[in-house]
Structures are given as C-alpha cells and as structure tokens.
C-alpha cells in the first residue's frame, strides 16, 4: 500500500484521484455580506486512499465535500477529480455521496431508495447487490419500510448503502454515523472498513470523532475554523485489515491525543 | 418613480414587458385576428375596437352601474368579513361553540356557495338589499373559517409566556390571540374579493334592476353585443382592481407584521 503523502513531490495532476488545489470559497449572504468559508485549502488524495477530515462545526468540511461533488463552484483555486472537472464524475454515475442529512426520498421504500442510483443511471436494478448492502448495514427485512418509519441512525445507514450501490470510484461521506449510538457506530466502522478493504474506493470522510478517523483512514486532516484552514495532517500507521483491538494500543491513544489537542481552539494549547 | 435607472435600457423594459405580458397580449391579438379573418357577424362577436368605442362614448351608463356593483361588492365584503370575524371570536371564547361552528363553517365554505344565490333571492326578495345580503353571506364563510383558524395558531411558546406573565384572558386576547390571526384574516380578504364582485354581479344578473349584472342581462337580451362585451371589460377591471388591492393590502400587512 503506497498512499501518497501530500508532502510528496508534486506529480502530474492526473496522479491524484482528488486534487483540491489551493481552494478558497466565499459565500455571498442575503444582505450582500461576504463570508469566507474556507481559505487556501490544499488536499491531495491518491487513488484508493482513505482520508478523514476533522474540524470544529462550521469550519467548512461540508463545503469541501460539496466542492468535490461539484455541488458548489470554487471562488479561488481549482478542484479536479481523476484529472478532470468534478462534474464529469457525477455525470458518469461514478460518484457515491452520503449526505449529512441523508436525503432519502420519503415516497420510496427503503429498497427503492437504494435502487434509485440504478434508475437514474438507466441501468437494470441489481436486487442481489441491494440485499447484500442492506445486510451489511444491518437493515435486512426493512426493504418495504418507508424512511419515516426508520430512526435517524437507520436512515443514515440507508443513505450509506445508496452511496455504495453502484460501486463508485469516489466516495464522499459527510458525518455518516453522526446519529448513531456508540455501539452501532463502532460496528458500522468495522463494516465500512471491510467493504472499503474489498474495493479500495477513494474516500473522503468528514467526521467529528477522532477515534473513527484514526480507525478508518490512511490519513487524517485537521481544520481550524473561520475561515477554514488546514492546520494539521497525520499519516495513520496501522496496517490493514485493522481489527477493533487497534483502538486499545498505546500508539492509537497517542495519536488520538495529538489530534484532540489540535482540535482545541487556539489559545488553549 | 424616477425615470429609467442607469442599468436599464429601453430594450430591457421591452424585454420585461414581453416576458410578462406575452400571454395576455397574445390572447387579445388572437381575438382580433380571429374576428378579422373569419369575418364573423359583428352581432355575434364584436370587434375589440367597437367595444372600446361603446365604452368611450357612453361612459355614463357604465359608470353608474359599475359604481353600484362596486359599492355593493365592497360593502358586502366588509360587512361579511366583519360578521365572520365576530362569530369566529365568539366561537374562540368557548370550546363547545367552536367545536360546533367550525365544522359547519368548513362545510359551507367548501360548498358551491354561488348556487345559494337563487335560494337567497327567493328568501329575501328581489331587491338591491338582497344583493348586499348575498355578498355578505358569501364573504362571511371564508372570514369565519380563516379567522377561527388564525385565532388558534399562536406563535409557539407564546401562550406559555403570557401565562408566566400572569396575563388576564383579555390581555392575552388583545395582545396575542387577535394579532396572530391577522395574517389569516388577510388571506380571507384576498380569497373573498373576487367572489364578492362575482356574486354581486350574478345576483344583479338574476334579479336586479340595475348594476353591471343587470346591464349585462339587458344588453344580452337586446343583442347589444358591444354593450355586453363592454360590460365584461368593466367587470374585469373592477374585479382585477379588487383582487390586486386585496393582494397589496395582504402584502403590506404581512410586511408590517413580521
């Protein structure tokens, strides 16, 4: 496994699966006031690399994800995905996204929600794959249920299954386990790690949990707030496949402490 | 208003005008074109130009009748709304009364009320006062239903706040309940304005001896098609005026209320 470091010498942009190249994003608010959400953010993610993004609320994590998903345009800098404009990826139905607010369609059953990407891409629905993913996220037997009948955490898991169903080349996850209890969350982390190890999808995960980031990612990026900037980056040394026991090692605790400290607001260092 | 601002050229004005009014203008042009091309007898369907002519040369006839219709519609609308509001307030004061009255109000406001005009005409007699009564009754139901709903939809938490203040029922009513019903009341006004004009005209049409509705019936029976279409134009203008002023009033009040 040779995940490229962002400090590695710059190669041709095509070498990066995701290249967020010195990007700034400014929003114009209703009153005409400008809000600088992120400033000079530079993130390079290699093919098959798993990167986690940590940072305080409102620091621009979702904004970065939306830029990579081509849901927003950059104000300064450039974003490329697999060497081209990020819209190319979604047009080719090769992008998987699990949104922070799950965005399930209330009028579709769980099964139909997960089948939606097939329908949109105009491909035949693979029911075996759907059943497999439902089992994976622990929701077998809920095929016919509707989103409103599920808890918040269950809905989030459906949205992850939907993001994975087409075996995307790039996976963007925005706090996918935010609404889960600690036990289910740990279980989902193990499962996500397993799926990821099978397919090695290039993944950008936004999370508030230091432990989750360390357990899942090859690399963890820490941001500071207003405007969002990158303040720290660490390479996660644990070999894959990782068992949950990894979380009880000294090294894991040290790294967790280091990241937690970096997340403290300035002045508290 | 100041003339064209710097950023707006006359061309922009034309563009906006076209984008907003292509439909209305298109229909008018189609009408004139249809009449000209098919050459229909002008007794059957008049040329727009002749209609305008009748309007311009006989302003007296139109003004007198339009004045009466407008007055009846406006007075009926105001009285009906006032009555509806009062009954809604009375209903608000008692759970049992509102439980009995609100469903009835809902039923009547979803019945084709205009169909009641012949019954009311018979009950109250062929008279100008009956026209007024009909407009009052037709404006009553929306005002009652919407005000009753508005009196119940208090801003969240505000009721507790007033209780904490130890406010009397009366203070609560004047300072909280009544104000929160105002937006709904304005909706009722907007919804009732066009039916008020329409029902005044229909009542006049069916049994009146004056007013736009009567003028319409008279010109139709005398095959004075220009007069009939002229009446249509005036009726439309009145109706549009009532509707747009109700919309403007609603906007104005809603802005103040936020």
């Amino acid at each position: 496994m040779n995940a490229p470091l962002s400090s590695a010498p710059a190669t041709a942009p095509e070498a990066w699966a995701i290249n967020v190249d010195h990007v700034g994003k400014t929003f114009t608010l209703d009153g005409g006031k400008e809000l600088k959400a992120i400033d000079d953010v530079d993130i390079k993610i290699g093919q098959g690399e798993f990167v986690a993004l940590l940072g305080p609320s409102g620091c621009g994590k979702s904004t970065i994800l939306r830029l990579v998903a081509a849901l927003e345009d950059v104000s300064t800098g450039r974003v490329t995905v697999e060497g081209s404009n990020p819209t190319a990826l979604s047009r080719a139905h090769r992008l998987g996204v699990a949104f922070q607010d799950h965005a399930l369609l209330p009028w579709l059953t769980i099964r139909d929600n997960i089948a939606l990407p097939y329908k949109v891409a105009g491909r035949p629905v693979d029911d075996k794959r759907i059943a497999e993913l439902l089992a994976l996220v622990g929701l077998s037997g809920f095929e016919k249920a509707r989103p409103r009948q599920l808890s918040g955490g269950m809905r989030q898991r459906v949205s992850i299954a939907r993001a994975l169903v087409l075996k995307p080349d790039v996976l963007l996850l925005d706090e996918p386990f935010g609404a889960l209890d600690a036990v289910t969350r740990r279980h989902m982390n193990v499962e996500l790690q397993r799926i990821w190890s099978e397919q090695r999808i290039t993944t950008l995960l936004v999370t508030h949990s230091v432990e989750e980031a360390l357990f899942l990612a090859d690399r963890v990026i820490v941001m500071s707030g207003r405007p969002g900037r990158i303040i720290k980056e660490i390479q996660v040394p644990f070999a894959r496949p990782r068992s949950p026991d990894v979380q009880r090692t000294m090294e894991f605790h040290h790294l967790a402490d280091e990241l937690t400290l970096a997340l403290e607001p300035e002045g508290h260092h | 208003m100041s003339p064209v601002s710097q950023t707006r050229s006359p061309l922009d004005w034309v563009k906006t005008a076209i984008s907003r009014y292509w439909g209305v203008v298109g229909v008018l042009i189609a009408w004139q074109a249809w009449v000209t091309i098919t050459g229909v007898n002008s007794i059957v369907i008049p040329h727009p130009i002749n209609v305008v002519g009748d309007l311009v040369f006989n302003p007296g006839v139109y003004l007198a009748n339009a004045g009466q219709t407008l007055f009846l519609a406006a007075a009926g609308l105001i009285l009906g709304m006032a009555l509806g509001t009062m009954v809604a307030i009375v209903a608000w004061s008692s759970r049992i009364l509102s439980g009995i009255l609100v469903p009835l109000g809902l039923i009547f406001s979803s019945v084709p009320v205009v169909a009641l005009i012949p019954v009311l005409a018979r009950l109250l007699g062929y008279d100008v006062k009956t026209v007024l009564g009909i407009v009052i009754i037709i404006s009553f139901f929306p005002a009652f239903v919407f005000t009753a709903a508005g009196l119940k939809s208090l801003p969240p938490g505000s009721s507790d706040l007033f209780k904490v203040f130890g406010a009397s029922r009366w203070t609560r009513f004047v300072h909280l309940v009544l104000p929160s019903a105002v937006p709904n009341w304005m909706i009722a006004l907007r919804l009732s304005a066009p039916p008020a004009v329409l029902s005044a005209m229909l009542a006049e049409f069916l049994m009146g001896k004056s007013g736009l509705g009567f003028l319409f019936r008279q010109s139709a029976t005398e095959f004075a098609t220009e007069r009939a279409f002229g009446t249509s134009v005036i009726a439309t203008v009145i109706s549009v005026l009532c509707f747009t002023s109700a919309v403007a009033a609603e906007k104005f009040i809603n802005e103040k209320w936020k």
Binding site: H93, F99, V120 | G23, G99, P103, P112, R122, F229, F243
Partner: protein, 252 residues
C-alpha cells in the same frame, strides 16, 4: 390516549353542529319563521325522493354532472400540463403567470358571452368550470413543482441525473401533495362553473332548474336543486380529502 379523547370530542361536536343545523332548518320551515320560501327539510326530502320527480332530477343531474366532470378533467389536465411546461421552460413562466391571474380575475359572468358564441350555450358551463379548475391547478402545481428540497436536488445532481429523470423521479412526486390539494379545492369551483354556465341560457341541468324554479316560485324544487348540487360537491370534496390524506401520508 388524550389525543384520541380530544378527537372524539371534536367529532361529536361536529356531528352535533350538523344535526343542530338540520334541526334548525326543519324548525324554521315548519313554523314558517322565514316565510313561505323556506320549506322544512322534510318537505325538501319528500319532494326530492318523489318517484314522479325522479326523471326530472336524473336528467338535470346527468346534464350538470357531465359538464362538471368534463370541465374538471379539462381544467386539471391543462393546468397541470401548462405548469409542467413553465417548469421545464422557465422563460415563459412570467407571461403565463400573468395570463392565468388575469383569467382568474375576470368574473365568469364576463366570459359567458364569449363562450356562448365560441362553444355554444350547452358547453358554456363546462368552459367556466374548466377555467376555474385550470387556475387552481396551475397555481398549485407550479408551486408544488418547486417543493423538492435542496438536499434532494443535490442528490440527483450527484447521481448524474438528467433533467427529465429529475422531473419524473423528484419534481413530480414532490409536487403530488400540492396537486392533490389543488384538485380538492377545485371541486366546488367546478360545480360553481357548471351551474353558472347553465344560468346563461342552457336548456338543461340543475342550474337551469334553480333559475326557473326561482322565477316560478317552485320553492321545494328550488331547494332540492340547490341541495343536490351542494351535496354532490361536498361528497366529491370529501373523497378528494381522503385521497389528499393518503397522498400526504405517503409523499411528505
């Protein structure tokens, strides 16, 4: 538990209200409190269900209801179709909005002469009904088509959806509750249109029955015709209300 108790109470009160209304109607009629032109409810019923009158009412109902249905369907289809068109082609929207609201503001009575010439006296009611329904459905559908949430629109973009796929799988289902509400509220509007149309010189229908009964002092006939039209409208309105509840449960 408390919720259901409250529901029961309001249901009971509602029924009591309707019963009181019907009783008052009967009492006023029996005691002639409102003169000879207010018949007791029982008299109206007796007249309405008199077998010798059945033919009269059935023919009138056939005429009126066919105009209601024709107008309702035409108005709904045109309203929904045009709303879909301006949704896909936003350039034409401002002009269409204006045209729809001007048409709405024209009192039906003012359009009658045009319709009588254009499409005959018999179908004037249908045309007015169609116009009334058209306006309500145009407005509710255009606003409904914008009901999809920002999150759902993002989802479709990320999935690489085409405009048509989004229209079919997102915008239309999201608009459905608004469309069905519109269809509910346009029921009385369709009945009004058809009845009005018949007042302007149709030779058939409940509307004609009302006017001629009014002019000839046939009091029970007058009340029966009004009662039939109102009840029919209420029943359809109620059915649409049920459909609306179902759709709201599923699509919201």
């Amino acid at each position: 538990m408390k919720m259901t108790a409250e529901r029961w109470q309001s249901l009971t009160l509602g029924i009591v209200g309707i019963a009181l209304f019907l009783a008052a109607w009967e009492a006023i009629g029996v005691n002639r409190l409102a003169g000879l032109t207010w018949p007791p409810l029982s008299a109206v019923f007796q007249f309405m269900f008199d077998p010798t009158k059945a033919q009269l009412f059935i023919r009138a109902m056939e005429a009126s209801f066919s105009m209601v249905i024709l107008g309702y369907v035409t108005g709904s289809v045109v309203g929904i179709a045009l709303a879909g068109l301006v949704h896909v082609l936003p350039v034409v929207r401002p002009g269409m909005d204006r045209l729809a609201s001007v048409i709405h503001a024209i009192p039906a009575i003012a359009l009658a002469p045009l319709f009588i010439v254009l499409i005959s006296r018999e179908f004037t009611g249908m045309a007015i009904a169609a116009l009334n329904v058209f306006f309500i459905l145009y407005v509710s559908t255009t606003s409904g088509l914008n009901n999809s949430t920002a999150g759902h629109r993002d989802l479709f973009q990320v999935l690489g959806s085409s405009r048509t796929t989004r229209l079919l799988r997102l915008d239309l289902p999201a608009a459905l509750p608004a469309v069905v509400s519109g269809m509910k509220y346009s029921v009385p509007a369709a009945f009004i249109g058809a009845i009005l149309g018949e007042w302007f010189g149709s030779s058939r229908g409940l509307g004609l029955l009302m006017v001629s009964a009014m002019q000839n002092f046939q009091i029970p006939l007058l009340w029966s015709a009004v009662f039939i039209a109102s009840t029919a409208s209420l029943i359809v309105f109620g059915l649409m209300g049920l459909l609306e509840q179902f759709v709201y449960g599923r699509y919201k």
